[in-house]
Assembly symmetry: C2
Homo-oligomer: 455 residues x 2
């Protein structure tokens, strides 16, 4: 339809300048390509010869998209060189995604404020840095400070608690701190962190780094600027913090209760350690991806509950994936307003912009459709059961990295699908949400209104 | 909060008159109670003694809610008296739900049109009968005409194709015609209609009755009044017809393709019979509940795809369950408008009322939450796998009645949960949607608008 409104709309100049979203997608693809080449070098792999293209590409994609799903064992397949490449890819991916999402978010906010004439000041306060260089600097500083602190704590524990030599302890501490803050879930132990399930000195710093990373950069900025002034926080900060606390508590209670007497998981621990491990899995479920118990042994009900947590994910413009807690919260508040019979959706004393409501629905519907279709494809390709396949698909799409252990056993087609899901899951919601927000325009004419019967 | 706006709102007189929704729920509960008592009589059960309370209550609930899930074999457990009770419960349930939904729909439309000052004429044209007695008469007439026609076709086939004596053939024909038009899925054969998988003279009339019933009474009225004037059809009619055709085709293609060479299902048939059986299961999946192949032998991918079809369900104010195709279509058109960057959601040349969009989201979110929670409960109660439990839960909630055969093996708690799901699934979306629509009110004051970051 060359003469349709859609074609005319494309004449708007903003659509043919390099939109930050396009730059972001290209940068991520390039980083993955470079990572793949480096990981294919024989020096990156233990033993003779290099890794296959699929192994290297999958690992690079998983690292750059800060997911943590693996088809080869990070601890034994890769040399220290390979592991350094992986941690660098994680760091670049994490910084990239925070910068990218913040820039895209800024451009959306600017455009929105220009269009809808809402004062931009209150809004842009949610980022607070007005140019990309300053933004990147702030993100790098924040990341490095948190990673060094957590890395130091972990290193100390590895030295004093486990008698590791200092050099190796620092390497272990830094690798896992970087992997944790960037919500990447890569570990240097073949069983992730299962040896440390009952050690709060390892699991709590890692959980803290994961949670901080998952809040998102805009929230971290506001927390640093107004740590004790909640009334100065913008809606985004309030929603992310409230949802994070609620989801952490709900996830901990649920997983701890369901697995309490499962001898293969929490059943082996004493009471307080059950809660510690329950909390750790809950903290990892919304994007971290480390595990201290074996997800392959979890009850199906735990997998299903975790599917929901993974799908919700973390805060926007952070290292967490998923549809984001803000999207989930928007739907929740729409539901609440509807049940109360209120015309406007009010959240923490502000009214929720109407366009955001529709964007949230759109993102959730597309995510659910993508997950359902991918799960069906994997069901047709393999003989694994629905619960483990659904878990794997959501873990990839929400860039969580938890797995019941089937990743390496999937056929090539299944692994390629997971790579696509990681890439789309990492960049899709951000670019898509921004595209939706930027393309929103007032209708030029209105049709008569009609309502079909619902329900 | 006695002084909150919610308390004040309750002073509106409309909320304390007997709302049709309350009358409807009470009438359904009473009918189920009467049916339970009748089915517990020794005369209703083959062999000595009566059925247990659970057997009778489950069967009565399943019949009145026109679902078709059973814990005892309809063909061998019940006497002809018991089967007559069941078919009467189905008929009362089907007529009841059509009348109830139409009345509630009318009251919603009146209230809406009064409030929003939209011309009521075009809207109420979707029902066309202005009082309950006339409405009921129209519904009874329509039902009887369709049931007698389909029953005659089936009876003739049972006489001439299978040599049944005339009396039994008429009984078989009528029972299955009533069960089909009311989307109840009860059959007088222990294996449902599996003996007739390749007989189009049985399966096509039944599929036709199921589809007609699932369109909903408002659509049937418009089709009778303006059979060849699609431009006279209201949005409801257009959406239901378009969605029905699309979903039938998609379901047929999907199920036929997935099961094509499964030796336990379609693999046993010749090519055209595969398509016939694929079409039949597709036609039953959105609420009918009969089956001509064994769902316990279907591929997991078929179950998952069917979950989606069942959840979508049929047209409103008909005998089909689920969230209704209109609700699904509203979400689809919202998504389409959002992707196109259009402010208003336009459907078939009319603008979709904004309130309906939020109601559709609310109903879907509540349905999904209810299904997820129920599935988790069944996973904790039993050892069945996610795919069969999810299938069972959605089948009950959407009053479909298909099963992989686990219904009778569930523990008492699981069967009680299924009963609740059938009742809520049957009455919930209608009453809930009407409550939402009636309570909608303009905001008395507006808060400042803010948008969190999405995606
Ligand atoms: K991750
Ligand atoms: K049914």
């Amino acid at each position: 339809m060359p003469d349709s409104p859609r074609a005319r709309r494309s004449a708007q100049p903003s659509r043919f300048r390099a939109h930050p979203a396009q730059v972001g997608v290209a940068a991520f693809a390039l980083t993955i390509a470079i990572g793949t080449v480096l990981l294919m070098l024989p020096v990156a792999r233990v033993g003779p010869g290099g890794s296959t293209l699929l192994e290297a590409l999958f690992t690079a994609t998983s690292a750059v998209c800060v997911t943590g799903l693996v088809v080869v064992d990070t601890a034994t397949h890769w040399t220290p060189f390979g592991q350094v490449v992986i941690v660098l890819l994680i760091q670049v991916g994490g910084l990239g995604i925070m910068t990218f999402a913040s820039v895209v978010g800024l451009s959306v906010l600017r455009k929105m404020s220009l269009r809808s004439r809402i004062t931009a000041a209150a809004e842009s306060g949610s980022v607070g840095l007005e140019n990309v260089r300053g933004l990147l600097l702030g993100i790098v500083t924040t990341s490095v400070v948190i990673e060094v602190c957590v890395g130091a704590l972990l290193s100390a524990r590895f030295v004093f608690g486990y008698g590791e030599p200092l050099g190796r302890a620092v390497w272990l501490g830094l690798f896992h701190a970087v992997s944790a803050f960037n919500n990447a879930g890569f570990a240097l132990f073949s069983d992730s962190l299962m040896s440390y399930a009952t050690d709060p000195w390892i699991s709590l710093p890692i959980a803290a780094a994961v949670i901080l990373g998952s809040l998102g950069f805009p929230v971290l900025v506001q927390l640093r600027r107004f740590p004790r002034l909640p009334r100065k926080w913008v809606m985004n900060t309030r929603i992310v913090l409230a949802a994070t606390v609620v989801l952490l508590v709900v996830g901990t209670v649920y997983l701890t209760a369901v697995e309490w007497s499962n001898p293969a998981t929490l059943g082996q621990f004493a009471g307080p350690d059950k809660v510690l491990a329950g909390f750790f899995q809950s903290a990892q479920a919304r994007s971290g991806g480390f595990n201290t118990i074996d997800w392959g042994q979890m009850d199906s009900a735990s997998l299903l509950g975790t599917d929901v947590l993974m799908l919700i994910g973390g805060g926007p413009a952070g290292t967490a994936g998923g549809i984001k807690v803000t999207t989930f919260a928007v739907l929740f508040f729409v539901l609440l307003a509807e049940i109360r019979g209120e015309g406007a959706v009010n959240v923490f004393g502000k009214q929720l912009a109407r366009a955001v409501q529709r964007q949230a629905i759109t993102i959730v519907l597309i995510a659910v459709a993508l997950i359902a279709a991918s799960t069906v494809v994997l069901m047709l390709l393999t003989d694994f059961s629905l619960d483990v396949l659904l878990f794997e698909v959501i873990s990839a799409f929400a860039t969580v990295g938890l797995s019941t252990g089937i990743t390496a056993s999937l056929p090539v087609g299944g692994q390629v699908l997971l790579m696509l899901l990681m890439f789309i899951g990492r960049l899709g919601p951000i670019t898509f949400a921004s595209a939706l927000a930027l393309r929103q325009r007032p209708a030029t004419f209105e049709l008569p209104i009609e309502r079909p019967i619902i329900g």
